[in-house]
Amino acid sequence: MEMNEDESHQQRARPRLDRFKRQWHKFSSNPLSLMGLAVVILLILAAILAKVVAPHPDHSGLFLDFSNANQAPSLRYLAGTDEYGRDILSRMLVGLRYSLGIGLLVLALSVPLGVLLGAIAGHYRHTWVDTAIMRSTDLFMAIPPLILALVVCAMFTPGYFFAALGIATAWWPWYTRLTYSLFTSLSNELYIKYAELGGATHWHIILKETLPNAVSPIFTKMSLDMGMIIIIASSMSFVGLGVQPPKPSLGSMVAEGMKYLPEYWWISVFPAMMVVLIVLGFNLLGDGLRDVFAIEEI
């Protein structure tokens, strides 16, 4: 009996891989989550290969062709053309690249900062550090996120990066609050108390003990937020505060199409549908992740 125990111990089972298989099994059992994942992967591919896939790649830049302006959706122009005769489908694909880009950029700007501050405030709770950080998040959350984003973004010359910066300034406090609440509730877990008692370094407790347990809710929030951010970004480009013409952005395309309702309805409707598709994909994916991680918690 003694011998084969050591043998089984030698060929080191990969615990992390087993856990991933179990999580994937739970994730894939829900068709909706799979659909969400498929849509997201499809969108990412479409964004990367936008120039290749788009029927008329040059339409996304400076291009005028009044002869077939405002064409209804046809075989040649699947989603019809806008007032300058540019193919809406190819502009949507390039616009998709900017929308996904801004979503990732905002997350890249707000998540690391928010999580770091939340972790520090949560770990050193009930000290001046905690009050300083959490009160400053109150400051940023005192007004609706969209207004703060507008104010910040309008400060600078309108552009893609500044739109992302604007949204990020309104978005990082949500992650600080989430991480703070996770860290404070995890702090009265017994294994954290044990690590503190044993004299583990603060760095070890934050990174090795508390953060791994906080990662899953943060990850779920990120994918759910992706949809929200894209909605806000497209709303801002609706009023001209995002990607500047002639570069296409879904929000501005919807805005331009407004003037031609209801005759040339497709100019607004198709970009709006694309936004809906993006947000749907990320939300389904986010719900799937939450179910997987929720089961993990119990």
Binding site: E5, D6, S8, H9, R12, A13, P15, R19, E189, L190, Y191, K193, Y194, A195, E196, L197, G198, G199, A200, K208, E209, P212, N213, E296
Partner: protein, 335 residues
């Protein structure tokens, strides 16, 4: 001739066996919105080398707070904690490396005290590295395998996550983790009350085995008197932050003196006729445990004590040694 009470107090201090841990007049209060909550109001006891010392009490008696202060989880509001003569009455962070290694803790809830995101190997490696029992690399791996074998779990468990093993096995991992730094004193805070009867028996026997093998001393905190009867060498009983009675387990159960001990012993539901006869004359349980925020004056138990007299209401009783090694804190004890 010294007055009686001083004579008795002197005897309290002198003790033949080598003391590993001594607690003198330990106090702890918590500030709450409704006033000051006195969790521990002056507790004094010693634990000898290689002894299992049990503290019994109901909820709100402060027994867990005493255990936490000994391991350094809270700062105390007064009194001393001497580990081999050296005062360590300060939070764990400020304690010397040696005392942090020497005193270890096992929690009640096995599920909650193991990090769900770490494998058992990672869990066990932390105490070994923290207390310098092994360096990173192959030496650490052997030490981990050796530690988990101490509690009788197969090495294949090292690659499992805590969720994948049963409640009893998780508690064994917690015990292994407490043994890793090769301590000499372990505080066990209700280690078996979250487990089923049959697994409880396994863990209790394993604790006894380890105690003999590594010559450890335990502070065993629980509300289960039957368990204390079978495991502990000396027993103390706490009520509302104060020690009521302290004696060798044999004396404690055969001749209980304090009314609260009698009430507790007679209230326990038992499963055999022999135990029924073993119980003291019944002291019926009346009233509720008072709110620790506005403690009754004098002896904490006077609101529920059938023998309470006026003296119990105004003066706090002193811990007196009625018989050899049998201390009781009650005005009526020595009549």
């Amino acid at each position: 001739m010294l007055p009686v009470c001083v004579e008795r107090r002197k005897h309290l201090m002198r003790d033949t066996n080598k003391k590993i841990l001594e607690v003198r007049d330990l106090k702890k209060q918590f500030k709450t919105r409704y006033g000051i909550l006195t969790a521990v109001a002056g507790v004094t006891f010693q634990i000898n080398e290689g002894e299992i010392y049990g503290i019994v009490g109901e909820s709100g008696s402060g027994k867990t707070t005493v255990g936490s202060m000994i391991t350094g989880m809270y700062k105390s509001d007064g009194g001393e904690i001497l580990y081999k003569g050296q005062d360590i009455n300060k939070p764990a962070v400020q304690r010397s490396r040696e005392s942090k290694r020497a005193i270890q803790l096992v929690f009640q809830d096995p599920g909650g005290s193991l990090n769900p995101r770490q494998t058992i190997r990672q869990i066990l490696s932390l105490p070994l590295l923290l207390h310098g029992r092994a360096k990173k690399g192959p030496a650490l791996e052997d030490k981990i395998v050796q530690t988990i074998k101490k509690v009788g779990l197969p090495a294949s468990y090292l690659d499992k996550y805590p969720q994948a093993i049963g409640g009893g096995e998780k508690q064994l991992v917690c015990i292994a983790r407490a043994l890793a730094p090769e301590p000499s004193f372990i505080v066990l805070d209700e280690p078996t009350s979250a487990l089923d009867v049959s697994i409880q028996a396994k863990i209790t026997n394993k604790l006894l085995e380890l105690q003999k093998e590594f010559k450890l001393s335990y502070l065993f905190i629980t509300h289960n008197l039957c368990l204390v009867r079978n495991l502990v060498h000396r027993t103390a009983i706490m009520y509302l932050g104060q020690l009521c009675e302290m004696a060798s387990t044999e004396d404690f159960f055969t001749e209980p003196l304090h009314p609260y001990t009698k009430m507790l012993l007679s209230s326990i539901p038992v499963i055999s006729e022999a135990e029924e006869k073993y119980k003291p004359i019944t002291v019926r349980s009346i009233g509720e445990i008072p709110n620790p925020i506005n403690r009754p004056t004098g002896c904490g138990f006077n609101t529920r004590c059938p023998f309470a007299r006026d003296i119990c209401k105004d003066r706090e009783p002193e811990m007196i040694e009625v018989k050899d090694g049998h201390f009781v804190s009650c005005h009526l004890a020595d009549t």
